[in-house]
């Protein structure tokens, strides 16, 4: 009867006695677990309808040559049926090693990796530095904290426009650079500077989350560890390396994972900064969006195929990352 198996009393698996028949087992499982299944049913239904069904449909689309010209659509009172046809894995083959695959996929792929690595590294390092500074007994640190959280508090779609005004040719940044006789790059037009600006803006947006999370982690480190280190005459650097960083392990691994996923999927910053004007600065997510909705005719099949590839990359990365974490954990325990 008791379904709620609390962790305090441990598991309640292995039933005593001989194995009952299959029907019995099913009935038993039903009696034992129906509460649990009833409780997860709402989410299961929603996920089935809103995620699984679109996913399957999207998967099917990637195997066709669907675009906005041959999909079902209604113009005025006329309804036109879909005429796209099944073409197997051609979309994937075309994306990965078709004629201009480098320009269409691999260049964006490399840029996406660079973008993710740079942004997450900057987020983490700057966030950690600021968290360490804020973790001291300083006058006015609450005040600093409130201001430093601001880029996270204001919605991204607002702040990106602020940056666009600043980065525009003739905007404040170039005026200031000009005033001190530095070169004034075309932030929003030249490919290299577009990428530079994108990373800069995204770093600005993402640091507060890292900072606040890591600050929470720092404050939960047992202060007796530092006292012990002091007793042993550890230098501040050693304390940082052997007490602080290991103490931040669990927070770090979570925020880095979240950071990678969020940055890899970051849509708003690049889309709002450049619109569809900068094909070379698009990461895979915004490029897939461009293929599906930013051009005419809209190429639904390819866009969906990009989506599937992106998802595959993320799933593979996440499982490797978690496995790597687990292995490290075990090494540490030994």
């Amino acid at each position: 009867m008791t379904v709620a198996i609390d962790r305090a009393t441990g598991k309640r698996r292995g039933e005593p006695g001989q194995r009952p028949g299959r029907l019995d087992r099913l009935r038993h499982a039903y009696q034992k677990y129906w509460y649990a299944y009833a409780m997860i049913a709402p989410v299961a239904v929603v996920l089935g309808g809103l995620v699984l069904y679109p996913l399957v449909r999207g998967l099917y689309l990637t195997l066709t040559d669907a675009n906005s010209l041959n999909s079902a659509r209604t113009i005025g009172v006329n309804h036109i049926d879909a005429t796209y046809k099944f073409i197997g894995l051609d979309n994937y083959a075309d994306i990965l090693w078709g004629d201009t695959a480098y320009d269409r996929f691999w260049s964006h792929f490399i840029w996406t990796i660079v973008w993710t690595v740079c942004c997450v590294a900057l987020h983490y390092c700057i966030g950690l530095g600021l968290a360490l500074l804020l973790n001291q007994k300083l006058r006015g640190r609450t005040f600093y904290r409130l201001i430093l959280v601001l880029p996270w508090a204001v919605p991204t779609f607002v702040t990106v426009f602020g940056w666009r005004f600043m980065l525009a040719d003739g905007g404040i940044i170039n005026s200031m650079l000009d005033a001190v006789h530095l070169p004034t790059p075309l932030w929003l037009e030249d490919t290299f500077w577009q990428r530079f600006a994108a990373i800069m803006v995204n770093t600005w947006c993402g640091v507060p989350f890292m900072m606040v999370s890591l600050l929470g982690g720092l404050q939960s480190i047992d202060s007796t560890l530092y006292e012990a280190a002091d007793m042993d005459g550890a230098s501040p650097w050693q304390k940082f390396w052997y007490v602080t960083l290991p103490g931040l392990r669990s927070v770090s691994s979570t925020v880095v994972l979240l950071g990678v996923i969020w940055t890899f999927n970051q849509f708003a910053v690049i889309f709002l900064l450049f619109g569809t004007t900068a094909p070379d600065a698009q990461i895979l997510v915004t490029w897939a969006y461009y293929l599906g909705f930013g051009q005419q005719p809209r190429d639904f099949a390819q866009s969906a195929a990009y989506g599937m590839l992106l998802l595959a990359i993320l799933v593979v990365f996440t499982s490797f990352y978690r496995r790597w974490l687990n292995r490290n954990e075990q090494q540490l325990a030994n």
Binding site: Y35, L47, L50
Partner: protein, 305 residues
């Protein structure tokens, strides 16, 4: 991944190479830094604060300039500062329509997300059932769906159902991410509520549903608030789906409405800045009220799943 090499565990060897550069800052918790260190800290923090503040302050400053090209000549704004942009935005644009759309969509997502996710968060926090691990994995993977995976099929499905340019359609789309996220956040919160409370309820003859509804739910109000707030802020700030699925300009959310100030023909940047400020003030005020709980909630579920 240079960010991650930092946290690789080193064998606890005794020595640092001699001549290691001086540590950046005293790492002791709450340690009181020396005088120079304190000055340096203040210096760095002040610069960082200025960088954090400047783009937003600049946006506010530009919103006071009456002409649409004032952002190129900020010096001229001092002489003609005015709140005209604000009154124009409030009186002659679709500002209030956008506000209505944003609120309908975000609140709808929030309510559905939290209601649907609450029992599930409790179930995965307290019960172990066949399929538990797979279910958790699905919850995790759903959270990292790039928008590109769902946007095309969603577009087709919603057009079949005639839900394009419809609040309900957008709410449904947002629920696909909000629901698993809420379930995940709430699991983290329920995990912090002692299991003894459940046991006490069971001893007193409550069913698991009774325990959940009468004992745990009242205790979990802060967790529910965080989940609600997170769904709200995510739905409010979402750009891709809203830009694609909302077609008529009275149904735009703020994220789309702001973009509409700059078109190929005309760029009313002064109005755009004013609108941006009007949107930013209430949202960030709200954010400051709850941000402390938000961080704890977001990082709790993470790797312990």
């Amino acid at each position: 991944m240079s960010a991650m090499t930092v946290e690789k565990p080193e064998p606890t060897g005794p020595t640092d190479p001699p001549g290691t550069p001086a540590p950046p800052r005293p790492a002791g918790r709450g340690g009181r830094p020396g005088r120079t260190a304190a000055l340096a800290s203040h210096g760095v923090l002040t610069v960082a604060s200025l960088i954090a503040l400047f783009p937003i302050a600049w946006l506010f400053f530009l919103s006071l300039g009456p002409d649409k090209d004032d952002y190129l000549h900020p010096g001229r704004i001092w002489d003609k500062m005015t709140f005209d942009n604000y009154s124009f935005v409030l009186q002659h644009t679709n500002f209030f329509d956008w506000m209505r759309s944003s609120l309908i969509v975000s609140l709808g997502t929030t309510v559905i997300g939290v209601l649907v996710a609450a029992t599930t968060g409790y179930a995965v926090s307290r019960m172990r059932f066949p399929g538990y691990r797979k279910f958790m994995w699905v919850l995790l993977v759903t959270q990292m769906f790039p928008i590109a995976v769902l946007i095309v099929p969603m577009y087709q499905i919603l057009s079949d159902l005639q839900l394009i340019d419809n609040y309900l359609g957008l709410i449904l789309v947002y629920c696909s991410t909000a629901v698993p996220y809420c379930a995940w956040l709430l699991k983290g919160y329920f995990d912090t509520i002692p299991f003894e409370i459940d046991e006490a309820g069971r001893v007193d003859g409550l069913t698991p549903f009774g325990t959940f509804a009468r004992l745990i739910l009242p205790l979990a109000k802060p967790g529910l608030a965080v989940a609600a707030f997170y769904s709200f802020i995510t739905a409010f700030g979402e750009v891709a789906f809203a830009s694609t699925f909302m077609l008529s300009d009275t149904k735009y959310t703020f994220a789309v409405g702001l973009q509409s100030f700059v078109s190929e023909h005309d760029a009313q940047r002064n109005l755009m800045a004013a609108t941006a400020v009007l949107v930013a003030i209430p949202v960030s005020a709200f954010f400051y009220l709850v941000q402390k709980n938000l961080v704890a909630g977001l990082t709790a579920g993470g790797t312990k799943g």
